[in-house]
Amino acid sequence: TQLLEQSPQFLSIQEGENLTVYCNSSSVFSSLQWYRQEPGEGPVLLVTVVTGGEVKKLKRLTFQFGDARKDSSLHITAAQPGDTGLYLCAGILPGAGSYQLTFGKGTKLSVIP
């Protein structure tokens, strides 16, 4: 059973469109991170959210952490071909001595020029 479920699994859109990807869990996380990974590379951190209800913006990307800290979303406005990649959400479970990142399977985004 996957602790973090990401949807959709695949997304192909035209340049200029908007999109939202989701990261859901039945577990509470102390923090949640979004990464983007390109083929043959390691994940690159986009944002960390720690407070329930928190919204963070990074240029055309908007990240939201759910009030109950069980889910998150990533919204991209006016997608560009450079946004193409695998978007991974990853969370850290609460508790002392908890350091591991638990990842979802990712959303593979293709932005067509």
Binding site: L4, S31, Q33, Y35, G40, E41, G42, P43, V44, L45, T48, V50, L88, A90, G97, S98, Y99, Q100, L101, T102, F103, G104, K105, G106
Partner: protein, 114 residues
């Protein structure tokens, strides 16, 4: 400023062999974590090393072992390789000061077991 460096980048091994992967953390980071990413999957946590000790371990068998050196670099060893061990192995570094800033990942070592 060098990021996380992993070597080798690619490796082909035969079933039953042993392999050692290496990682140098980002400058200023003292904690190293290892992840396994199978094709089409998200990374899975193997273990984390801090102060030369294994601090936390994921759900991986004892065939997977590691080490951290005084300069904070780390090795991942896998014994008795299975076909299912074929994956991208990622090293991630962090420090207590940058804990909330996430982890810095290397580009990984692509291991193929034949």
């Amino acid at each position: 400023d060098a990021g996380v460096t992993q070597s080798p980048t690619h490796l082909i091994k035969t079933r039953g062999q042993q392999v050692t992967l290496r990682c140098s953390p980002k400058s200023g980071h003292d904690t190293v974590s290892w992840y396994q990413q199978a094709l089409g999957q998200g990374p899975q946590f193997i273990f984390q090393y801090y102060e030369e000790e294994e601090r936390q371990r994921g759900n991986f068998p004892d065939r997977f072992s590691g080490h951290q050196f005084p300069n904070y670099s780390s090795e991942l060893n896998v014994n008795a390789l299975l076909l299912g061990d074929s994956a991208l192995y990622l090293c991630a570094s962090s420090s207590p000061q940058s804990y909330g800033d996430g982890y810095t990942f290397g580009s990984g070592t692509r291991l193929t077991v034949v």
